[in-house]
């Protein structure tokens, strides 16, 4: 017997807080509880962990069968991977190549989230966005970020 879709996401929604809460509580114990008058650094996270765990249990009990709270859609893998790649590429290139190239690359990659994109359109998009960001951040705000840093390229 397969578990219907509606149940699965609600199960996850309940189990995740329980797992997180228990983990928080476990770690918090090692931080020292102090006394009742002078509470230690572990008390507050312990309370938070307990609350989160309790809420998770409540979700499991109460909302397991709630259809209106089930996942409203599938995971959009294309968007997810493309945007993640775009941000990651920026993080890796900003300090190596400067603002303009890294934004251009990031925007170029991000353009692929839309399935109607073409290479030419995304290239143009990358350049325009890079120009716009250069204008806002370097010219208008005069931030000390190098526009082009070609020292790595020989």
């Amino acid at each position: 017997m397969s578990i219907p879709r509606t149940y699965r996401s609600n199960l996850i929604a309940g189990l995740l807080p329980v797992a997180l809460g228990l983990g928080i509580m476990a770690e918090a114990f090692s931080y020292g509880m102090g006394t009742l008058r002078v509470i230690g650094p572990g008390v507050y996270p312990l309370l938070l962990g307990a609350v989160i765990t309790a809420l998770g249990v409540a979700i499991l009990v109460v909302e397991r069968q709630a259809r209106d709270l089930a996942t409203s859609g599938d995971i959009e893998w294309r968007s997810l991977l493309v945007i993640a790649a775009a941000v990651l590429s920026f993080a890796l290139t900003i300090e190596r190549f400067g603002l303009f190239p890294s934004v251009a690359l990031g925007a170029f990659i991000a353009g692929w989230a839309d399935d109607e994109g073409t290479v030419r359109r995304n290239l143009l998009l990358g350049l325009c966005v890079a120009a716009f960001c250069s204008f806002v951040f370097i010219i208008c705000l005069r931030l000390p970020i190098p526009l082009f840093d070609l020292s790595m390229v020989r």
Binding site: A13, I39, P41, Y44, P45, V51, L55, A66, F90, L143
Partner: protein
């Protein structure tokens, strides 16, 4: 309490070239953010936060506040023209505004909405100017136990109003509070939840979290969505003139909406969105002719917009006088103030009168600017709505990346943004409201501190302390009542579901 004198002083602060410029910039960006669906005030303010760090505190808050109340004006444009909400608080405007547009009255709808937004804002500003100093004086009697109770009440009330189930709202808030714990505990020096990482020792960057949870997660959700753009409505100035009948139906609902919004804005947990929904419901329930709703009823158009603007202005009351934000956007603005070294609270008005009254004066000036932006200049915004989303979102991603990098010049902040983006996306899928995380994040450390202080003050005797402090006790009891109500409704709802299944 010389309000006029103080306002004059405030005007002196505002009418300096830099402040005026940033006020104009703020309200313009706010309108833009409000007009564009998919980017709300939360994302917009997060995007602008890195830029405001280079400004002086007053100018920074004037601009951010301008974005906030400015977005309440622009949000209804997309609602009227496209039947898509520009901001969450303008979703209700779709119900009456879009039918009006379909009947050829788009111009009138846009005009009336701008007018009642102005009306609601001014009303809210007056309440703010009167209530804030009074509340601050009263709050001086507050001490740690009262703050603790009030903040817990605020968080519980906020989860009650959040999207999705209340249980999940509370999980979001608690998650935010937990993230606020990460880092070094100032009192004991203990590193908490850093797992050896030096980057986490200072805590997690608020802006990175906000940009990730809202900016990136929003782009991921929306980038592939197909949305309609382009409209062929007549929005010339002549098309905007309302009839006498329209104006007759305009005044009473606007007033009702303004009053409702002003009151709700002060309460923790309720903000512009709740106010607009409640105002609409109020008009529906008290109307003599309920049949005209959903077909272009002026009351249903005007009351919510007045309410959300009023609430946006009075939302500053608890934030500035108590240091307790009423909704996630206020939490973000509060966070920005703290970063600038300013701690709002009862003494804020006393210690920073120029900033407080300058801010209020800037609200007045800003709203006048917005009236101009939204009536004669409405054509620009309408044309903007025809830009396809697919060109916009890569630009937003770029702005997020560069913005967060510019704060600390650290690539690990960008990775935090990415991580939070994925988490935020996951939260949306699981129907957890990401906005509540911000509330918990900003208020969490404050709650821990007041808890600590309360325990020290009580010397271990909690019962005795609360017996001496009726205000704190009442607040806790109200919190308990709200939790009890939530428990009851949840049990009743799950029983009904089980019977139906």
């Amino acid at each position: 309490m010389d309000i006029l004198g103080n306002l004059a002083m405030g005007m002196g602060v505002v009418f300096q070239p830099t402040v005026l410029l940033y006020c104009l910039l703020g309200v313009t960006l706010g309108t833009l953010i409000g007009v564009l669906p998919g980017i709300g005030p939360l994302t917009g303010i997060s995007l602008l936060l890195p830029l405001t760090f280079h400004l002086d505190p007053t100018t920074a808050v004037v601009m951010l506040a301008g974005v906030y109340y400015g977005s309440q004006y622009g949000g209804s444009t997309a609602s009227i023209l496209l039947n898509i909400a520009g901001t969450a608080s303008s979703a209700v405007v779709c119900l009456e505004g879009y039918p009006m547009a379909q009947k050829g009255r788009a111009g009138v709808a846009l005009f009336l909405v701008a007018l009642c937004s102005f009306f609601g804002s001014i009303f809210g500003i007056i309440i703010l100017a009167v209530a804030a100093p009074t509340l601050a004086a009263w709050a001086l009697k507050f001490s740690a136990p009262e703050y603790f109770s009030l903040m817990v009440l605020g968080l519980v009330a906020a989860s009650m109003f959040s999207n999705g189930s209340q249980l999940r709202g509370m999980v979001s808030v608690s998650l935010g509070m937990f993230v606020g714990v990460v880092g070094m505990d100032v009192v004991s020096g203990q590193f908490r939840f850093t797992f050896g990482s030096l980057a986490l020792a200072d805590g997690v960057n608020l802006v990175a979290i906000a940009l990730g949870l809202f900016g990136v997660a929003e782009v991921i959700s929306a980038a592939t969505a197909r949305d309609k753009r382009g409209s062929a409505y007549d929005v010339s100035l002549r098309a905007m003139v309302p009839t006498k009948q329209d104006m007759k139906e305009f005044t009473a609902p606007s007033t009702r909406g303004s009053i409702l919004g002003s009151i709700l804005g002060i309460l923790p947990g309720a903000g512009p969105t709740i106010s607009s929904f409640l105002a609409y419901t109020l008009e529906q329930r008290t109307s003599r002719n309920p049949g005209k709703f959903r077909k272009g009823a002026i009351e249903g158009l005007v009351a919510p917009e007045a309410a959300n603007n009023a609430a946006a202005q009075t939302g500053f009351v608890p934030t500035l006088t108590l240091g307790i934000p009423g909704d996630p956007v206020m939490a973000l603005i509060l966070g920005a103030l703290i970063v600038h070294g300013i701690t709002p609270g009862p003494v804020f008005i006393q210690e920073n009168p120029m900033m407080f009254w300058g801010l209020i004066a800037s609200f007045l000036v800003g709203n006048v600017m917005l009236l101009v932006l939204n009536i004669p200049m409405i054509g620009i915004w309408v044309r903007l709505l025809s830009i396809p989303a697919k060109y916009l979102y890569p630009a937003v991603v770029a702005l997020i990346c560069v913005g967060v990098y510019s704060i600390n010049r650290s690539t690990s902040d960008i990775l935090v943004v990415l991580g939070c983006g994925l988490i935020g996306y996951g939260m949306r899928l699981l129907r957890f409201d990401p906005a509540s995380v911000l509330l918990g994040l900003v208020m969490g450390p404050m709650i821990e501190e007041s808890l600590r202080r309360s325990m020290i003050m009580s010397r271990g005797d909690l019962v005795g302390m609360f017996a001496d402090r009726p205000i704190a006790l009442v607040l806790l009891l109200v919190t308990g009542a709200i939790i009890a109500t939530m428990v009851f409704t949840t049990i009743r709802r799950s029983r009904a579901l089980r019977h139906a299944a």
